[in-house]
Subunit: 600 residues, 2 copies
């Protein structure tokens, strides 16, 4: 044993104990003929006191930062206590020490805030991982893992491992494939999720299943996506949506309580997908703040759109408004005194390609009750008042207005709302507002489609194992008549981030076939790809449903961060590379020969 | 909610409660105008009582085995109690029931013992998984998982996930590789173990790491090997071998106590690799029984062989013995009355190609103290007595003797010993005898080698990250002088099965390079493949070591079984196929195009 204690546990009660510590040199200070060295490990930092003789030894062979040392001595009370340090009441009067391993000078500082850039830190990930920030993050991740397991265990869920070498069924995202040497010309695929396996476990009677499991998607990586990611995957038999929502609301409460000591007093609010889209322009609304979307002009519609046509902007002979399919507003509190420059800047912001608007209008609701707008020319104060009323704007508020096609404009306004939320400090990272979004669309009827599929077809909005709402199953047969089919599908949203989602699944063979057919997968193809599942449904499949949470994202949110990368020990960069180990890389030609593969 | 209670929880205390159950039809019995249906779920079986009206309904629409039903009624006391069933005191007097899903007739019986063959059960794995045996196995596996985590947690280990898409470093077994679409012509590899990553975590200061993690090896599958398998992977910093053995002896005790209620009274015995080979012919001896190997003739040797030449078979002018490099015996207790036929059959057994002996000799130690041997012609009773003494054979024992080249003969005798142990009932599956085998060889000097490497070279007996014993590091420089180098490497053996192993690792860059060089990996190649590890060792790597346990095997052993397949939810067959989902399979040509790959 290289140590009797770790670097974080000695206290005033341990004075006079003889101890041996081992760890990394954090910092050293010389005071004349004596010296102090702070030694660090996962558990903390302890100060070592070097007497004159040992200081001479130190001078002869200086220790560098990050040297690994072992030191033996007696715990003594510090004259100059450090209340910021758990071990700050004591130090070790050492009698001997030894260098266990030297260290070159690290390429960046190993401290709370480092001077190392992203790329450098990724390359030397093993050093970045020494920083307190990342150590805290990975500890938090472990605590979340443990906390999840405690809860799932208490509810009778079994952790059952599902296979990694499965079958490629290229729907949804792209699969990573794995050539098989023993089965020439054939490939496994890495799972995008254990979806079908967890359903089979329900068919097999395991009743409650969970797993914290790696999943894989060969997608072009947007910021903060990883080709391999971790999912908390769960499934339950003999349940309805209500049971699942309650179970995982319970999980969320449990984890927040255990990991952050935080309690949610009220039941998690629920909002339909249509409401979320209408009120926030977004299926994962951040409900930490209001500033809800208000429609000034909207067509009559079926899903999100209003039951009746809305038009509060017509009759003014203003072409922009008259041509627009959709006009939407938000009222930003306390922003009525925005300057010309600020407003121009916001206009530029919405005109960026990511947002894609052609311009922005505004109405200032002045503190004195008057209204001042960029479209005064077209609309009298009566009209502006009508808008302000609808937007529930108060004196001092600034109404921002976007116009354009419904879908794009709604999305743009959602982005603008979030941006204003950021600017106004409404998005406090220490405040947590969970939300269930329910009643997602499952199938949507597309009149025109690019794939030459003929006179319109169903487009999947959810995976093909999701059950339609029971009263809408019949609708699938007459797609031209019903423009959409909804599902008992739900997402758990936290602070504007989707942390998970799930649904009640199909458990009837006929309905599953019908669903495949609706999605353009004929019976032959369905049998080839999902024969095992269709088969399983023939032998007494129970009603079931489940949910999967993005574990990386959940940990980042619990840590008050947005980037998942800092909560993964060895992440990949945006090109899917591990720059530390330099993977992927070329392989030996004999490996390809054995697999009967050639590079093109 | 489809049920108020599960099928295993109702007791006499629940009489008069109104309940709804859901589950699978196990069996149904008609008695005149009434009927009983047993409904089953993961938790148990409950009897439903159908009154006359409901029985008429049942007759009109018969239920089949494995139908999924939901039934509502009142708990009543049973007149005819079933003490074998946890719910056997009660039954449900149902008022209504509903078929939730039908079932076709299963292709085999879903009972403790099934009539289904291996292939059929693999294809319908989701039905096989309903059998009580497999349900118990997967539950046990989950309990082992949980128990391991509780222990690791109590000892301050963090579960830290390591990546699955890593770099191919084709040493040891063959890697599965994964083509990268974003990095054309390059490949990831699936990890054979998280070895280098867990070492990096030690360098990063995480101090104690564990993971229950999938690993992958593209090996030709022998019986009971899986291309993907689960490992309990652990690493500790600032420790010596002793610390690791104690830690994982503690884990083993904890798991046996929690999962099987079993206590080991004594410290796990330890045996050097050389002793194990000499005494049992095997580096994973089954010490549930004796019958140790006794050398009647052995050359002077260095590792396993004796310090002095042994020869108790010379001078008899018996060519078989005189030509043999090695003669070894075991004394099988109580077998002196084996018939000619039995002995011939044993001789045939050792002559099978898997064992590879040319014959077998024996000495019967008769109950009356006389000795009778198949080689009476060459050896007088004095000589036979000498052998019997050396083999510690008692009257009534049968001494079995094999001859041949040392390595092969030792291995054959080890097999024969295990076979005799089986025949004599010495290998009780409910008795558990753990053993640490320590001091494994790390490098062995091969005089002649097939690979044209010149005048002899080191051959690796362990992975290249294993540290040589400190006092033998110097030996690496003079390979011709020292025929082997040993390591602080250890295996945990249970009942003749290796359930895990590990070692103290190299943590010094220079030594790691020296080790690579000894294994014929030059600095350039080492840098290319393991540059990240060599780099990490430059920045203050602590001394560290660890261990990995085969989780599938451990679960099978705890279940008293030998086949791991029955402890894996969705295993592959001996050709690496999942016959249920039919993987691997051909992929869409566009998938290959996107990866710039072609089949040869």
């Amino acid at each position: 044993m290289y140590r009797t204690h770790n670097c974080g546990e000695l206290r005033i009660e341990n004075v006079n104990t003889n101890v041996t510590l081992a760890g990394w040199v954090q910092i050293q200070r010389k005071f004349g003929s004596i010296a102090f060295v702070d030694v660090r490990d996962r558990y903390g930092i302890t100060q070592l006191y070097f007497n004159e003789t040992l200081t001479q030894q130190l001078d002869a062979n200086p220790l560098g930062r990050e040297f690994v040392i072992q030191a033996t001595g007696k715990v003594i009370e510090r004259s100059n206590k450090n209340p910021k340090l758990a071990t700050g009441d004591i130090e070790i009067e050492i009698t001997e020490y030894k260098v266990l391993n030297k260290s070159a000078v690290p390429p960046f500082t190993i401290e709370e805030e480092t001077d190392g850039g992203e790329e450098l830190r990724m390359k030397y990930r093993y050093l970045d991982l020494r920083r307190p920030t990342l150590q805290r993050n990975l500890e938090l991740r472990y605590r979340v893992n443990r906390s999840v397991r405690t809860y799932m265990d208490s509810k009778g869920f079994y952790d059952i491992e599902t296979p990694f070498l499965i079958k490629s069924t290229p729907e949804g995202a792209r699969d990573f494939i794995v050539p098989s040497r023993m089965n020439e010309g054939e490939f496994y695929a890495l799972p995008q999720s254990p979806q079908t396996f967890k359903q089979l476990l329900m068919v097999s009677g395991y009743d409650r299943y969970y797993q914290i499991v790696k999943c894989f998607r060969d997608e072009d990586l947007r910021a903060d996506r990883q080709p391999e990611f971790t999912q908390l995957d769960c499934e339950m038999a003999f349940v309805e949506q209500e049971d699942i929502l309650n179970m995982f609301e319970g999980l969320t409460r449990h984890v927040f309580q255990e990991v952050k000591g935080m309690t949610f007093n009220e039941a998690f609010p629920r909002m339909t997908w249509a409401q979320a889209m209408k009120r926030y322009g977004n299926d994962k609304p951040d409900i930490r703040f209001g500033m809800e979307l208000v429609e000034l002009k909207a067509p009559k519609g079926v899903l999100i759109e209003s039951d009746e046509e809305v038009n509060l902007v017509g009759g003014a002979d203003f072409k922009v408004m008259d041509d627009a399919e959709f006009v939407v507003a938000i009222a930003a509190p306390g922003c009525s005194e925005y300057t010309r420059k600020q407003l121009d800047e916001l206009t530029e912001w919405v005109k960026r390609p990511q947002i894609g608007m052609t311009g922005m209008m505004y109405v200032k609701c002045n503190a004195d009750g008057t209204l001042k707008s960029s479209v005064d020319k077209f609309y009298n104060e009566e009209r502006l008042k009508q808008w302000a009323e609808k937007a529930n704007a108060q004196p001092g508020d600034l109404i921002l207005i976007l116009t354009g096609p419904a879908e794009r404009t709604r999305k743009a306004m959602s982005e603008l709302r979030l941006e204003m939320g950021n600017r106004l400090g409404f998005r406090n990272r220490n405040e947590y507002k969970p939300l269930w979004v329910i009643d997602f669309p499952l199938l949507e009827f597309a009149e025109n489609n690019d794939d030459g599929g003929g006179a319109g077809r169903w487009v999947a909005r959810h995976h093909p194992f999701t059950s339609p709402k029971p009263d809408q199953i019949e609708w699938m047969k007459d797609k031209a008549k019903y423009p959409y089919i909804m599902a008992n599908a739900y997402d758990l949203v936290l602070n504007g981030t989707e942390i998970g989602g799930g649904s009640i699944r199909i458990h009837q063979r006929d309905l599953q076939l019908q669903m495949f057919e609706a999605l353009g997968i004929n019976e032959h193809e369905a049998q080839e790809k999902f024969g095992f599942l269709l088969g399983a449904f023939e032998y007494g499949a129970p009603p079931h449903g489940g949910l999967a949470l993005g574990f990386d994202r959940l940990c980042a949110l619990l840590g008050g961060d947005e980037t998942i990368r800092d909560y993964i020990a060895f992440p990949k960069n945006n090109s899917g590379r591990d720059v530390m180990i330099d993977a992927p890389s070329a392989v030996n030609p004999t490996q390809l020969d054995e697999l009967k593969l050639a590079l093109k």
